[in-house]
């Protein structure tokens, strides 16, 4: 992409403020993401976790403060450049998969590659590999509405990783699942991210899910806090 700073953080937010009308959602939030690490963003409901994720991913523009991706200022990029960056370098998993209901699971996973200009055959071959890796090859030809919640989330993880992103943004990826399926999604997501070297921003309020991360950042009233334990 652009001005890459070797040895610097992959993604960094500095003193980010964001309000929705009179409601302050972020009030001086800061976070650094290093290549390949899994960071859990925790905190009570309404504290600003999703807003922080959206600012980091260039979906929302902060009112003030700066977000840097590989040393370049996200907020000063054009909308076109930012959505291009999201397609090439970022992957997304949300609480409810947000797969395209009219497409099969295979077509859903192939979609980001197709949008990047890949031929159908190559895109679907790569998508098939990812479905196998996420242990959902059996739903390849079903539509998302015909899968279970756990299967759907694993398809969504496959779709997020198929382009080889540098960062995966996951907002409550297990929020709608029971413990067993949630654990399975987390294990596959974290293993796949570690294998491909992708960093993960994992928003969750569940400690058992956060325990899959390398470290956590707590958001409270729009401010971030990191606790360093002694020893």
């Amino acid at each position: 992409m652009s001005a890459e700073i070797d040895g610097g953080p992959l993604l960094e937010a500095v003193d980010v403020h964001k309000a929705f009308g009179p409601t302050p959602a972020l009030d001086g939030a800061a976070i650094r993401l290093w290549p390949g690490e899994v960071v859990a963003v925790m905190g009570p409901s309404g504290s600003g976790k999703s807003t922080l994720l959206h600012c980091l991913a260039g979906i929302l523009r902060p009112d003030s403060g700066t977000v840097y991706y590989r040393g370049a200022e996200l907020s000063s990029m054009s909308d076109v450049a930012r959505s291009e960056l999201r397609r090439t370098d970022f992957g997304f998993v949300f609480q409810f998969g947000q797969l395209v209901p009219e497409l099969t699971c295979l077509e859903n996973v192939a979609l980001p590659l197709r949008l990047g200009g890949q031929r159908r055959r190559e895109a679907e071959r790569a998508a098939t590999e990812w479905l196998e890796r996420l242990e959902v090859a059996d739903v390849a030809n079903k539509r998302p509405g015909e899968t279970s919640g756990g299967q759907g989330q694993r398809v969504a993880v496959a779709r997020a990783l198929v382009t080889g992103p540098k960062v995966v943004f996951a907002d409550e990826p297990t929020g709608a699942l029971d413990s067993l399926n949630g654990e399975r999604v987390m294990k596959l997501l974290v293993n796949a991210a570690k294998d491909t070297g992708a960093a993960v921003v994992l928003v969750t309020h569940e400690a058992r899910v956060a325990a899959y991360s390398d470290r956590e950042v707590v958001v409270r009233d729009g401010r971030t806090r990191q606790v360093e334990l002694a020893q």
Partner: protein, 174 residues
């Protein structure tokens, strides 16, 4: 849970007689197990010996229980260190955590900080268990899951308490 540190925490809000101290302890923390006078005085004499409290005044002729005790600066340091050091996860941790949160509020410290430090410590333990679970056999997984659910329960309670700090502060502040 440490009775000595709890008494010190109570003394931080102002000097008290042994009898007041017992009453304050029983009111806030002694629902299940009120203190015996013997415990109060033996604890106070240990704190005195260690320089953590000092005698702030004696009402003459009325026996040893009329001594007023005040916390020393060494005592304040001990309370502070205790409050910001996370507890090792263990069953029935809640009574210690509850005590720490209430004392932090009473003394105008940040109770949110007590909770944050504890959460960080619990999560670190949970990460270790999660790693073990991912590489272990089924028995390992089941054992780790049991521990993980218990730690999670502690943390959920902490979150809920954190959300009620303002309300709790109103109830416990003198």
């Amino acid at each position: 849970m440490s009775i000595g540190l709890t008494l010190l925490g109570l003394l931080e809000t102002g000097p008290r007689h042994g009898y007041d101290l017992k009453r304050a302890y029983d009111e806030h923390f002694g629902q299940d197990r009120p203190l015996h006078y013997g415990q109060v005085y033996s604890t106070l004499s240990r704190l005195l010996r260690d320089g953590l409290v000092e005698v702030d005044g004696v009402e003459v002729g009325e026996g040893p229980e009329r001594k007023r005790y005040a916390i020393t600066s060494a005592g304040v340091t001990d309370v502070h260190d205790w409050l910001i050091t996370p507890e090792r996860p263990e069953p029935y941790l809640h009574s210690t955590l509850y005590t720490k949160v209430v004392l932090a509020l009473m003394s105008g410290r940040s109770a949110a900080e007590v909770l944050d430090v504890q959460r960080a410590s619990h999560l670190e333990t949970m990460r270790g268990l999660t790693r073990r679970k991912l590489t272990g056999d089924l028995a390992d997984q089941l054992i780790c899951d049991h521990a993980l659910f218990h730690l999670e329960a502690d943390l959920r309670w902490l979150e809920l308490t954190a959300a009620r700090l303002d309300q709790l502060a109103k109830e416990v502040r003198p």
